[in-house]
Amino acid sequence: MNPALLRYVPLLLLAVAWETAARTGLVSSLALPPLTSVAAAWIDLMKDGELITNGASSLWRAGAGLLLAIVFGAALGIFMAWWRPLNVLLSPLVEMFYPMPKSALIPVTVLWLGFGNGSKILLILLGCMLPVTIGAFNGARSSEQALVWSARSMGASRLRMLWDVVVPSALPELLNGTRTALALSFILLVSSELIAARQGFGYLIGFLGASGSYDAMFAVVLTVALLGFIADRLYLMLMHRALRWQL
């Protein structure tokens, strides 16, 4: 059997176990609706468009927040490595905020920007920026002296060298930090939508759960899990492509 397919066998076994447990009454179907009912509910959700509209709104929030986090995070980390005074000024702040549970900011961003997209995007920006910053900072700091000197001796200006040597040197760690940020963005997205939103995957999960449509609720949970998995796989593919020189 194809080894790539073999990796999905455990998932298949889990699905079979789930279905049997729910059908035989081993587990109450209130706590765990049978997988086939979940699938049927998923098709209904797709048909009436609920999943699409809420999903689009969630993906837009996550995408925008994450993109901003990558841009600001990478720039901040590289400039901190590049210019010492900025490092002295900001590294205590970065170290203080890094371990803070970012979900604690959910009420804060809602207070500032309300229940709509703005508060989610800001939350994801704040929550996902620091892993990118720290990756970019460590990567940029590890730029080899001899590479910097080589570029200088070939006529590169200091700014040119920042772009030609420091940024690519930072790339491997920066991209690892971004992968962490990607995972975080899903967590922050769904939890903030569960607490304070009128749209989105998280809102839909909360709403369906509260109204007792557990099979539909499970359908949304599984959709989010699958999207997270696909996003991570796609990201890994892009990352390996960007770093193909490393071998």
Binding site: E144, A146, L147, W149, S150, A151, R152, S153, M154, G155, A156, R160, D164, V165, P168, L171, R244, W245, Q246, L247
Partner: protein, 263 residues
Amino acid sequence: MAQAQIVIAGVTHTYRPPSGRTVLALEDVSLDVGTREFVALLGPSGCGKSTLLYLLGGFLPIETGRILIDGKPAGAPGPDRGIVFQHFALFPWKTVRSNVLYGLERMGLPREEREKRAQSFIELVGLHGFEDSYPSQLSGGMRQRTALARTLAFDPKILLMDEPFGALDAQTRSLMQSELLGIWRRTPKTVIFVTHDVQEAVYLAGRVAVMSARPGRIKAIVDTNFDKNDTDIFKSKGFVEKVDEIWNLVRIEAIKAQEKRVG
């Protein structure tokens, strides 16, 4: 005689690490190098020979003394002085061709001309067929050939080489030595070549500056300009005598350097 191309006069350099004690790396070093001359800086490790090279390159600030190039202070790094490092310092994210093109792009050459020039230097160092390889796909010798092509391509007047063959295996090293000598004969440049290998210095250089253990001073300058066309040069009388002479100078310094480390 007109003024030498490179004038090093009374250069002293002290390293001041952020923590730990300061180290006097070079003390009152003076040396003149003529145009298209090949000079080796030879000494035990830690004698400051690389420091002198970095000062020449403009990578470290000159604190005491002065270094003139064509009569002008050495100043910031620039394409008049090309450098080749022991560990190649290739851009790992660029292919062989892109690495060689880098200096030519900074010079602002038209595209067609830089492509042509890069290709000719890649062929000069025997890397035809590896233009699209990344450094991580190449052997040590091939990486150093790439670095050499990259530096030669932008045609610096002065070539600074920091133990360029030190990281290579013995066979590759001797091959690279004879190739470097061949290239230097065809396109003469001023070369300052840092090494701790006596045979390498005698074989390549026209003059060998022997440096003392830390603090580095120039202890002696030995003329090694004898007939090097002999096919069996390493066994020739001229070669063996020079190696002996320099070995005796270096040995004392190497022992001193050892004792300092132990003591």
